[in-house]
Structures are given as C-alpha cells and as structure tokens.
C-alpha cells in the first residue's frame, strides 16, 4: 500500500488555480522529491496533505487516512519543515523545541535527550538559551530542521529545507536524513530548487508545473526521457526556460526577499 496517495487534487484561490488535478503516490520508506518552478503548486499541495488547507476537489490519503476527515490520525503520522518561518521568535531555541516535543507527546526523558542531541547536531547547542529573534536566517532554518526531527514521524515533509543553508550544513543534514530513512524507514517528501540535491538524494521525483504533474520517475528515468546529461537540464527541458512572472503576492515577495538575502533576513 502507498503511504501517500493523491488523486486528481485541485486547489483554487479565487481566480488562480494553484493545483489543477494532481495525482501521484509515494511508497513507504521512499525518498520522494517534488520539483517545480516558483508558483508551480508544491507548497499548496503539501499544505493540503498536511491538513493546513482544504482542497477544492480531489482525494488524498496519508498512511491510509484522509486529511480532511481524519485530521487527527493524519497529524500524528507526519512531521514538517515549512518553507516559510514558523518559529516563535520570543522563545529561546530550547523552548521552541520543548514546546514542539510536548505538542507531539514525546516522553520527557526521550525529549530532553533528543533536544540536546539535535541542538548539537545543528550546531546550536551553545545558543540554546538565546531568543530565536537573535538568530541569523540560517540558524533559524537549522533550528526548524532540528524541530522537524524531534519526534520521529512516519512521513517527513520538507518544503525547501535547505533554503539559505551553507553547503556544510546541507550535506550534514542530508546524511542524517538518509540515515534516519534507512534506520527507521521514515518516508521523506521534499521540495528543493537545487537540482543536484534532488538528483543525489531522491529515489523518485515528480515534476510539477503550473499546477500539473509534467513528469515523474527516478532521476535516471527523467534524464533519459529528456536526453539530458544532468537533472537541471532535464528540469529545464520539462518546464521550459521562461521565468515565472506571475503577479507576486505578499508571501511571494517575502520569499523573494529571503532568496535575495540568502536567507539572512528572515523574520
């Protein structure tokens, strides 16, 4: 049975159709990449899967549960690192993790150990009692990743987890995630704009453009389909070379600012 099953999913925001009839599935234990240009509908799809948005139409199942009607069971089954900031700036790094651990009912003794372990892992242990508002963009990102790993979910959604991170941290993070995937069989569903990252990490890829899946398969399959020598070429072949110049909303503007400042000016 597939752990994620999406069938003909549609999401409209007024006149904009963000997701237009998307179907795909992910097998348990798989590392799955969801690629697409800006505004393709990746985050919107993830938000629907993770109970944050109600779809306009279509079906989806997470671990056999429907996010719409069995939101509780679904929320128990996944962890997520959001594309946009989601920390409480007025709390310390430690407090943010502690709060997460309590919300996810991680037993106290495991929680304490794991928080220290993860803080060390993301190199924030000596900053643990500092307020998050004093952190740089990359530090915040690292903390969000640590938080996403605090409870060990069946499915981990990572929406551009490596945005604004230096290569050291990126490698470090992916090796940890691959390890977790191998040891605990955690399914990983991620998006990224770094094609070499997707090529290296993902076992399977779906490419979405303008709200529609335009191709899917293993990295090797996508490359041979398009006669490309690397995934970036394949991606450009599939999605065209035009820059997406849709009307940018406030979220898009904020993200643009973040990209331009290399993640350093995140609020």
């Amino acid at each position: 049975m597939n752990i994620i099953e999406v069938n003909n999913l549609v999401k409209e925001f007024g006149d904009t159709v963000a997701v237009r009839g998307v179907s795909f599935s992910v097998k348990p234990g798989e590392i799955f990449a969801f690629l697409g240009p800006n505004g393709a509908g990746k985050s919107t799809t993830i938000k629907m899967l993770t109970t944050l948005l109600r779809p306009t139409s279509g079906e989806m199942l997470l671990g056999g549960h429907n996010p719409l009607t069995e939101s509780d069971a679904v929320r128990h089954s996944f962890g997520i690192v959001f594309q946009d900031p989601s920390l409480d700036d007025e709390l310390t790094a430690y407090e943010n993790l502690e709060l997460h651990g309590v919300l996810y009912d991680v037993p106290k003794y495991i929680r304490r150990d794991r928080i220290h372990e993860l803080l060390q892992f993301v190199d924030l242990h000596d900053r643990r009692d500092d307020f998050v508002k004093t952190f740089s963009g990359g530090m915040k990102r690292r903390l969000e990743i640590a938080r996403g790993l605090l409870h060990h979910p069946k499915i981990l959604f990572l929406d551009e987890p490596t945005l604004g991170l230096d290569p050291q941290t990126r490698n470090h993070m992916w090796s940890y995630l691959k390890d977790l995937n191998a040891k605990e069989g955690i399914t990983i569903f991620f998006t990224t704009h770094y094609m070499e990252e997707a090529d290296r990490i993902a076992q399977r890829i779906a490419v979405i453009d303008h709200g529609k899946i335009v191709a899917s398969g293993t990295p090797a399959e996508l490359k041979s389909q398009t006669n490309a020598s690397n995934l970036e070429e394949a991606f450009l072949e599939l999605t065209g070379k035009n820059i997406r110049n849709e009307e940018a909303g406030s979220i898009d503007n904020m993200r643009m600012a973040r990209r331009m400042w290399g993640g350093g000016k995140r609020r």
Binding site: K47, L53, H76, S86, D88, L91, E95, H100, L103
Partner: protein, 248 residues
Amino acid sequence: MKTIYILWLRQIKRYVRSKSRIIGSLGQPVLYLISLGYGFGPIFEKAGQGDYIQFLAPGIIGMSIIFTAIFSGIEIIWDRQFGFLKETLVAPVSRFNIMLGRTFGGATVATIQGIIVFLIALLFGFSPFAWSLVPVAFLVMFLTALLFTALGTAIASLLEDMQGFQLIMNFLIMPLFFLSGALFPLQGLPSALTTVARFDPLSYGIDALRHLLINFSYFGLATDFAVLGIVAFAFIWIGSYFFSRIQA
C-alpha cells in the same frame, strides 16, 4: 492537558518578557485615573455621587482588562504573520485544546494587568470596602478576561492580517469600553444608553467589580456572574469553532 499548559505558559512567557509592553499598556489607565479621576472628581462629588476615584477605579480596571484580553486573542494574527501558527495547527492535538491554552494564557495575562491597575489605583487613594472580597474581585477579572480573550480569538480567526485592526479598535473595543458604564453610573441615564449597556458584557464585569470593591451595583452580583459565565462560555465555544476552521 499538557497542550493547554504549554500554550498557556507560552503566553505568560511572552508577556513577562515584553517589559516595554507591560509598562506601555499601563500608561493609559494611569492617564485615565489622573485626568478623569481628578478632573471630574469635584463635579461628581457636587452631584452627590461621592468619591469619583472610588467609582472610577473598577471601570479603569475593566478597561485595562478588555484591552489586554482582546489584544491577547488577536495575537493569533501575529502568529499567523510570523508563521508560528502553522506549527500549532499541524500538531496532533485538538484545536480546541490549542485554543483553550492560548485563551487561558491571554486571560491570565489580562488578569495580571487588571491586578496591577488595581494596585496603582490604591496609590491614587482607592480603597476597597472589604479586603476579604478582593480575591473574589480577582475572580471576576479573570472571568471577564476569559470572555474577551475568547472574543479576540474568534475575531482573529476570521482575519487574514492586521488590516482590520483599526476597525476592531474603533468599532468594537472603544464602544464596548465607553458604553459599559466604566466611566459613569448607569442609574438615571437616557434609556437608550442603558439598553446598549445591557448588551455590553463589559458592563457586567465592571458592575461585579463595583459590587465587590465599593459595594455599589446596578445589575446585582448574581446577574453579573450569570451573564459573564454564559457569555464567556458562548465566546469560547464560538472562538474554538472559528479557530478550528483556520487554514494557513
């Protein structure tokens, strides 16, 4: 239970850590106590109504509670804008408990604020007629705070950003405060005004405070408690419904 506690604690921490906010929010009540208390004191006394500071203090306590409480509820909009809201919305805990934790936290903060104003009022010469009833007055403060935090939560759950904020300030908080009898006795008013005051939950909170602190009441304590209790319950119910419908 743990969910409620940890989110309650979060609100308290945020409050305690924002010293400038605490001090800033005390400026207004002090200003009212000075300008109105001393300014209208002589007229109030000439009209045979007694000491105006005595009368005014419970009203100003009510004012600081309604402001702090509704703002605490509305903080959800900030959490939405800064992104933290998503973190709680995907957590595997019921949204009702999330809402309760936040609301109790906000209500606790507003109560503390009310108690601080009470202490300040003492400096201005206010004195409760029976100290044994003061703890009950604190309970009334909490109930009032709960009611308005839940109202703030309900409103914030329906708003996308802070743009509606001025609207809320001018067409909700201000009228609720000014028409509640916080500043004047409800006795002998034009009947239109008393009717309006009857539909304002803050009237009952302030009335109960007056009953307990200066032994002066318009509705009677039983009515006050009944109305506050029922409306608080209703607002929590409505607030948690809207909160459970939030999308992010």
